[in-house]
């Protein structure tokens, strides 16, 4: 095992041309990416895109059909299954708790499966992290969906994993509980835990993740959220004036860092710019010089959701074509 283990500088996850097929159905195909140690990596995609199958494959539950991967420094192969599962932890999408057992009994069982020393302290710590210390004796069958989700998260925290896979961790949680999970993920990041997060909540990914990948059977894109925005969308400044400019070509044309302009349906002037910070001051001066009554000059902001929808829409169009 030691020979297979990677150094501390090696990526926590390294996936190369990985594919998974169930008979005729392709779950994901030719996926390659790396996740650095201590990184929070978001894995996004529509339902059926292969996100959970990727988690199960990297978690050694499923055997890849092609390609290779290293998980927590170990080669992904059947002989390393136990060793890999000792180093990682997975919070599955469905909590899968023993409903007749109490919260504590559920965690006690898993503390035993991880052969944890001082299980009581570890359980108490995990329950405190998800604010469930006062519900230890409650049978899991009596808990709400959100509380069950939190028990599942506490279970994933038990073994202090090197790589933590969180499959839709805030699914079913109310906004306050979701915020607590976000804070918990921030805390884990500070402790250097690598987190592989699948989520449908794009604002969650944008807020929490250092990098994101968008999967739709194949990997559509990967990068920092701001990089992806820049790759897909031109930077623009939107100018709103009280009245239309008398000579817009003369006012807006030839300004530094402005590459072109058009007027949208609302009557606003949308300027394509190479650098918003360089373009805005001369633009303001030109508008004032032209005597325009300026209502606002705003840099257009595209969210991760825009990136996501753009890519998924492209896939839908490509398939229908």
């Amino acid at each position: 095992m030691s020979s297979a283990a990677g150094s501390s500088t090696a990526p926590a996850l390294s996936v190369e041309h990985l594919s998974k097929r169930f008979g005729e159905r392709l779950a994901f195909d030719d996926v390659s990416f790396e996740v650095g140690r201590g990184e929070v990596f978001g894995f996004l995609g529509p339902n059926g895109a292969g996100k959970s199958t990727m988690v199960r494959t990297l978690g050694t539950l499923l055997t890849p059909s092609a390609g290779s991967a290293r998980v927590a420094g170990l080669q992904l192969r059947p002989g390393n299954g136990v060793a890999i599962r000792q180093r990682i932890s997975i919070m599955p999408e469905a909590p899968g708790l023993y409903l007749r057992l109490s919260v504590y009994e559920n965690l006690e069982c898993f503390a035993g499966l991880y052969e944890l020393s001082e299980p009581r302290q570890r359980i108490d710590r995990a329950l405190a992290a998800v604010n469930l210390s006062n519900r230890t004796g409650d049978p899991c069958g009596t808990l709400s969906k959100g509380l069950r989700q939190r028990v599942s998260l506490a279970r994933a925290l038990l073994n202090d994993a090197e790589v933590l896979f969180l499959d839709e961790p805030t699914s079913g949680l109310d906004p306050v509980a979701a915020r607590e999970v976000h804070e918990l993920i921030d805390g884990l990041r500070q402790r250097g835990v690598t987190i592989f997060l699948t989520t449908h909540r794009l604002e969650e990914a944008e807020r929490l993740c250092d990098r994101v990948a968008i999967l739709n059977t194949t990997l559509r894109t990967i990068g920092r959220p701001d990089e992806l925005r820049d790759q897909l969308f031109a930077k623009t400044l939107t100018v709103r004036t009280l009245a239309a400019l008398p000579e817009p070509d003369r006012t807006l044309g030839g300004l530094p860092a402005v590459e072109g302009w058009h007027r949208d349906e609302s009557g606003a002037y949308v300027l394509a710019v190479s650098d918003a910070a360089a373009a805005a001051p001369p633009l303001t001066r030109a508008l004032v010089a032209a005597g325009a009554d300026v209502l606002s000059i705003a840099e257009s902001r595209h969210s991760l959701e825009d990136v996501y929808l753009q890519l998924i829409d492209e896939d839908v169009e490509a398939r229908s074509a």
Binding site: G23, V82, G96, R100, L101, E105
Partner: protein, 240 residues
């Protein structure tokens, strides 16, 4: 392979807690022996003293080994498919427990209520015979070799039935079907003991030793077989 008894104990403790809180499973296990012994007991109670001569050469109570053959099927057949149905199998398989340990723990956990029920029912039957059967008949029926056979063979027979039930459970897609198939699959074992009890198969010391060795081998083989049949991928994804 090296077995981690910490992991095995974790599953056993969990299973026993679930049995305690799921009384319907234990109740179902307890009902089967009652059905199994009620008719033979009534027949024994009405036997006259003259029948004791013939009974002293037979091993009627070996029939009772049918109980550990059939009873464990209820819990064993639920072991894997039941967890799969309630969604708790995937989180367990995501932990470091190898399938061999998981199945061993499931089997040992199923053995506990099976042994308790089998031995308790056996003792109750002996008490009933002593109380309600003719004294000569009771003396002829209750023989030390039979008691020893019951003591030794009960865990071996129950163990084999458990492995059969777990094997069914790893392949079934629904718990109720698995329990029915598991019970059905344990009938041949019960039939063998019925044939010995009614002297169709003649009981000898050699047969007992050979049977015990065979059952030990079958139990080891059962562990290996069910481990080979336990396909994580199929259980998780429902494919293959």
């Amino acid at each position: 392979m090296n077995v981690s008894w910490t992991r095995v104990r974790a599953i056993i403790r969990k299973e026993l807690r679930e049995y305690q809180r799921n009384r319907s499973i234990v109740a179902t296990m307890a009902v089967i022996p009652i059905v199994f012994v009620i008719n033979p007991l009534i027949n024994i109670f009405v036997l006259p003293a003259e029948a004791s001569g013939g009974l002293s050469h037979a091993h009627i109570l070996v029939y009772m080994l049918g109980i550990p053959a059939i009873v464990p099927a209820v819990v064993a057949a639920y072991a894997v498919v039941g967890e799969r149905q309630q969604g708790s199998l995937e989180p367990v398989l995501m932990t470091p427990i190898p399938r061999e340990e998981f199945l061993l723990a499931k089997a040992l956990a199923a053995l506990v209520p099976s042994l308790v029920i089998s031995y308790v029912v056996y003792v109750l039957v002996l008490v009933a015979i002593e109380l309600f059967a003719n004294a000569a008949v009771a003396a002829a029926l209750v023989q030390w070799p039979d008691l020893l056979a019951q003591l030794i063979f009960t865990p071996l027979v129950a163990g084999w039935s458990i492995w059969v039930g777990i094997a069914v459970s790893t392949r079934a897609s629904e718990a109720r079907t698995a329990q029915q198939l598991g019970t059905l699959a344990s009938v041949p074992s019960a039939l063998v003991f019925a044939l010995i009890a009614y002297d169709v198969i003649h009981a000898t010391l050699g047969l007992a030793i050979g049977g015990a060795v065979l059952l030990v081998a079958l139990n080891l083989f059962g562990w290996r077989l069910t481990s080979a049949m336990f396909d994580r991928e199929r259980l998780i994804s429902g494919t293959r």
